[in-house]
Symmetry: D2
Subunit: 371 residues, 4 copies
């Protein structure tokens, strides 16, 4: 029906103003330090909107990401599972991406084109991101979808391989299908954290098959309800990229430079996880307690993860048990009994919430000079 321009303008302004308020970084913003040679990008590369089985318009996904200060997201709609298709016929599978891109226009947030290739076990679910056209991935044979993705230069990762609805043991099963995809260079990553689930066995698989380690929210409803209001941040993948561009992000993912993070759980290859943890802690003050051999060291956690540490030195502590937490954004004081005056010390702490392999936690070192 006909409608006057002024009415449209009025209405648009109204909707715009309401949306606008949320286009800023909120109290739930996350922060992680860069590591040497790379910028650390906070990414969530698995999520859904009404364009598959999610419950929100793609713009909400952009606004949620801005509130948590993410650097990149991908709306990975199921190509084959379209429960809202009666209402959203949606012939163009790139549509969610287009809408998110428009919403993010004025912001620094990178929008990565992506789609979810969805099958029963043993094929399971996989995300293809950095695709050029989602429509061409809609093949009835899963193999062909992967081939099409490869042709587009996509980075493809296996979603929740341990999901007990597809694997009743709760363990990932590497089928011939996946083996072949890996052999063909058609599968490059694997979720070791999906929503609230972390599978050690998926981490083992990642290491064994040299797949990029991923963590994603896989959100369908609201980030606030699933995570924020319970005191959690969504799971993310930290990607160590040469700079903050889509190209660099893609290059880093293919190179496997990632750490998956869910609150105080950090999972990644030692070569990236250790430097990250090293940067997460700033040493702010060092001095001997007056007339003693007890060295006072102040450690500030500049990340958004509470970090749980275990003393890995032969020295013991004066006032802390050997296992202690430095909460996100907080400073803790260690009092190290050095037994004699030292002019520098190698502080060694095992990061108990960080895993470089199943049950393997890295020891992080900081050389500290006593003034």
């Amino acid at each position: 029906m006909k409608k006057s321009t002024s009415l449209l303008l009025t209405l648009f302004t109204f909707a715009f103003m309401i949306g606008q308020e949320h286009s800023h970084t909120g109290a739930s913003a996350m922060t992680y330090p860069n590591i040497e040679g790379y910028v650390t990008l906070k990414t969530d590369l698995h999520m859904h909107s009404v364009f598959s089985d999610g419950n929100v318009w793609p713009t909400i996904r952009v606004q949620e990401a801005l509130r948590e200060d993410l650097d990149a997201i991908s709306l990975t709609e199921h190509l084959e599972y379209q429960p809202h298709s009666e209402d959203i016929p949606h012939p163009d599978r790139n549509r969610a991406f287009d809408l998110a891109l428009a919403e993010a226009a004025e912001h620094e947030l990178l929008i990565v084109p992506g789609s979810e290739i969805t099958r029963s076990a043993p094929v399971g679910h996989s995300n293809a991101i950095f695709i050029t056209d989602a429509n061409t991935l809609m093949e009835s044979e899963a193999e062909k979808a992967f081939t099409a993705a490869k042709k587009q230069g996509a980075f493809v990762f296996w979603n929740h391989p341990a999901w007990y609805r597809q694997s009743p043991t709760g363990n990932p099963i590497l089928s011939d299908f996946q083996k072949k995809r890996i052999a063909n260079g058609e599968l490059h990553g694997i979720e070791v954290i999906n929503s609230m689930d972390y599978a050690e066995e998926s981490l083992a698989l990642a290491l064994e098959q040299n797949l990029t380690i991923m963590g994603t929210s896989d959100v369908h409803g609201l980030i606030d309800w699933d995570y924020t209001e319970k005191g959690n941040h969504r799971p993310i993948t930290l990607v160590f990229a040469k700079d903050k561009t889509l190209e660099s992000l893609k290059e880093a993912l293919f190179a496997g430079r990632t750490v998956a993070v869910y609150n105080d759980l950090l999972v990644g290859k030692a070569e990236y996880l250790k430097p990250l943890l090293e940067q997460c802690i700033k040493v702010n003050a060092v001095a001997y307690e007056m007339d003693t051999l007890v060295l006072r060291v102040e450690l500030e956690n500049v990340s958004s993860s509470d970090l749980l540490f275990e003393n890995a030195m032969s020295y013991t502590f004066y006032s802390k048990p050997p296992i202690f937490t430095i909460a996100a954004g907080q400073t803790e004081t260690l009092q190290i009994k050095t037994l004699e005056k030292v002019s520098n010390i190698d502080l060694k702490l095992k990061a108990l919430g960080a895993f470089t392999a199943p049950k393997e936690q890295p020891i992080v070192e900081w050389n500290i000079v006593v003034e």
Copy 2:
């Protein structure tokens, strides 16, 4: 494309489980007491989903309402303003209602069919609820839309009449159009509270024209972002109905038995607002302080609104200033200096946050017996 049943089932289960967690009453639940002869229904009868210019699937609106423990909602999509129509062609304007109804199937929440009739000033925006078919309201002449609504027995109310985008003074202007609608029995209510805005002049108009007093959220984005995370509840209309059914709700709205509420602001006709306030406060303990003439009275606020009171008795208080708040769900103690021992007392308090007319606040009375 073809898709096996088991895959669909698996996926459905996944989505279902995530949604399910939120199908309960949350920390943000609201509660208001019944008044004599009526149950008090908490309603939000103005909101939007992706089926007009909102940003969420209708199911989210149901889940939000369940979290706040509302009794009834209406998805009042703009009939004429369909910014998502490219993606959601949406030939049936009853569709949002159908989806909300299905989501609410297992719950006590009433879903009221409704639509917004949307024009520039001076016609403005109006909601028709309790309609039987939204499609038949799509008329290019506004008058005809109202006539169609009336034919369906709809309850129609004027939305945000003071909205400064349509009335730059911020005051409602009763045009010939509205006058005629009222005269024809085609306009029955008026929003005095819309989102965060309360207009005294709209209240004056409600009283002058005997229109039902309404308060609504008019939410387009997320209730959490617009209200909850700022420490607010959404605006609602309390409706005093004979029982909790659609029929009774409709009867009560036509009869004008409402109070509009936004946090600590309550607006309604004295005949409903005074009994509501009376029930909001329970007198739990009454006794003289030992060996004194100071009467101790404990007052419990059983509502979800902080209630601001001013002493309206000749007696003064021992330990409180004459103006004081009883926070939602809390108990406060008054110590009344009765000067001599009395066996009962009329406690009289002016409710400063409650309005029965512009700048008119009711004095509420409780007869209290001293044991």
Copy 3:
């Protein structure tokens, strides 16, 4: 018994370090703006330690005051009521003052010498502060104690005149004793707020007899337990002094330049309360909402009291009810419907929690220029 110096030193260091941590301004610090011509001193001039019937060493009173960032305190021990005298024989009634003074040595906190003259009704309790020797006030006849205080130039105020243990009605009774003290220039102030109690009748008496209006904590136990952990600040007297010295404080008290404050309750003579409220609110931004006649005004409350206001203009508000609160330290936005564009406006608000006389609240004005 004998004790080596090194042991004493060791022990002293231990105690010192523990005490030291609390010598800073805490989260519970209070702040109130200066008014024209005067600095605003936050004072609590009625409290007890173990040197009468309090339960803490005087140093704790100093530390509590530093945490709340008070400017002056007085330890007003009961001269005649010494329940701990068996353990603290305490021949010198100036002792609590001396200990507090030593504790405050490194701080800006003023310690005012004082004592409480304690009798049954009708004489009741009074504090004499700015005395030179508490011992000389220990007279069995109350009259003589007041005479001695006057001789020392003391400022004397009547404590909790409405206390229901001494006046079962909960109202102050001005006896011949007090009348004579006032006539003789021996009684200069009156508590209208004592601990959690505010008596309008005491305020009436203050105005009638031209007594300085006082608010005090009268703390015996811990400020934290009596006030802080319940979300309250202790009651204080704001004194408008020429500068922050004992002399100026004394001069201001004799001149009656005070406002008694307990959380959101402010009580004082209009000539001081109005300028205080004026300074409590900073106007930070003024502009018309685009294309409207609705003037947006941002008001910041720079005080530690939540301030409750009622619109006292003929203009109405767009988005707020006519009664609203600006919480301590927070900013609120008013949207004033000026009906036509104005270049300046007299913002007039009645401060509902502020009393210049029983049931009389001041209207405060700010002239605001629209740029």
Copy 4:
């Protein structure tokens, strides 16, 4: 001076009412479960009042203990260090005990008579509790003080042996003096936790010398300032006694049945610490996730310590990392991948915050039956 009875009564009532409010268990109450054969008593057996170098009257120590719901306290005033002696000549060193006992009269709190024997290194500080007369311990030779304590049947423990003011390395040094005391049966316990300090070396000493493991607050100021407002509970000693009497408490201390606790740090002999941890966790629900081999187990932490656990089974978890916390009073869900259906399972968790020896943490087991 003379004082009328009615005045005294009036004043007493006033002080009484204020004190009374705090005679209840507060939000900071601690709770720990009993273990088989014993009741678990929460004790703080090292603290100070104005009767040595503390800053509060002994009644405050009782009120603080009631708020944290302790079962027993001891006011262990320094016999030899009396910085307030000018004001509190205090000829009877049992006085603080007497005053605390009177304050606790109406409560279940046990008051243990005690005193601190205070010397420079190498003798250091020790507490003698369950003494019959503190005065007889005031001997200039430390040996004689210990002999006197033994004669009274006292339980004696070494305070903060690692204190860096007496031992600059921050490590305890077992001198000939202590060796002799132990050999003579004059020293029975040792603080491994004192205020915020935990020394692994003190624990090693406790085990080597078979001394009872103690944790104490050693509070001089206010529990609220030193602990509560920072989100901590004071350190305590859990004592496993046959019943809640002074006799049983003493018997248990001599028998070494203790666990020292400071927030999430628990230190004790394995034979007491393991059963305590076992009781701290209640298994509330056990079932397989539908159609899976993932066993869902709900664990409730009924203690006031956050408990940090590491999976010590060969089974892995579905949704939690192998290291996780169950916060005080909270319930967490484990999803154990049992790979096949089992009818019962030995849940084994290493308690990372609990120490039975330096760096040795116990593995706790719960046999869980699957219904």
